[in-house]
């Protein structure tokens, strides 16, 4: 696993998230579910709790965006770049954007939102890309089945290096 330079991390254990813009390619309820499950994948390994808010500024602002969307990292249309997220911090820190030009899905007919969201939230929590092909934080897309998903070892090591293990 790899961390970002300076090893940015959240200095609190309860983080808020808000889905501010949805995609037309999926039902809003499915987006909510995929996001919740993706955050929980990380929350099961470290002492972090995620609380959803529906208004105002959250720590992790989540949105589906098209092309140039004002953060200097424009999306490129179908395929190519699927999403990106910013390392922990104020303002854009933690924010997670998905390319609206992709076909998002809960299954395998398109890009699985849980898979991509779980990867991006790794960045939002402070993990950079891993060189381990079995890691969730590997840069290229590889479908992960959302139900019964467990974080690969490399990702557990990485996130626990930042936040410590969750006490059972």
């Amino acid at each position: 696993y790899r961390l970002f330079p300076g090893e940015p991390k959240w200095k609190k254990n309860t983080l808020t998230y808000r889905i501010s813009k949805y995609t037309p390619s999926m039902a809003a309820a499915d987006v909510d579910k995929a996001v919740e499950m993706a955050l929980q994948a990380w929350g099961s390994a470290v002492p972090l709790t995620f609380v959803r808010v529906t208004s105002g500024e959250a720590d992790i602002m989540i949105s589906f965006e098209s092309g140039d969307h004002g953060d200097s990292y424009p999306f490129d249309g179908p395929r190519g770049t699927l999403a990106h997220a910013f390392a922990p911090g104020e303002g854009l820190g933690g924010d997670t954007h998905f390319d609206n030009a992709e076909k998002w899905t809960m299954g395998t007919n398109g890009f699985n939102l849980f898979t991509v969201a779980a990867h991006e939230f790794g960045h939002a929590l402070g993990l950079a890309h891993s060189t381990d092909p079995s890691a969730l934080m590997y840069p290229t897309y590889k479908y992960q089945h959302p139900y019964g998903f467990h974080l690969p070892k490399d990702d557990v090591k990485g996130i626990q290096a930042l936040y410590g293990p969750r006490k059972t």
């Binding site: 999306f75 997220a85 890009f111 991509v116 960045h123 290229t140 897309y141």
Partner: protein
């Protein structure tokens, strides 16, 4: 010996442009190049980045846009760079 397929030059030119855009996006450190790198811009800089990509993805480090490297470049992926900014 068999001659290469007619499409080869165009394919390799397309690959070159595709690779250049990919490497600029995911293998460029923002905030300026190191002094040694300033003198070695252009082709050698591209080769260096190709090698960096190949090392990251566990490929054979050749500095060339071989098939396995192009396969990686064409995969859908996360937009966060692989080298640290």
């Amino acid at each position: 010996a068999p001659s290469p397929p007619a499409a080869t030059p165009r394919t390799s030119r397309n690959n070159y442009h595709l690779a250049q855009a990919y490497l600029d996006k995911y293998y460029t450190r923002k905030g300026g190049h190191q002094l040694g790198e300033m003198a070695a811009r252009g082709a050698s800089s591209l080769v260096k980045k190709i090698k960096e990509l190949q090392a990251f993805f566990g490929l054979r480090v050749t500095g060339k846009l071989d098939r396995s490297t192009m396969d990686v470049i064409k995969r859908p992926r996360c937009g966060v760079p692989d080298v640290a900014n």
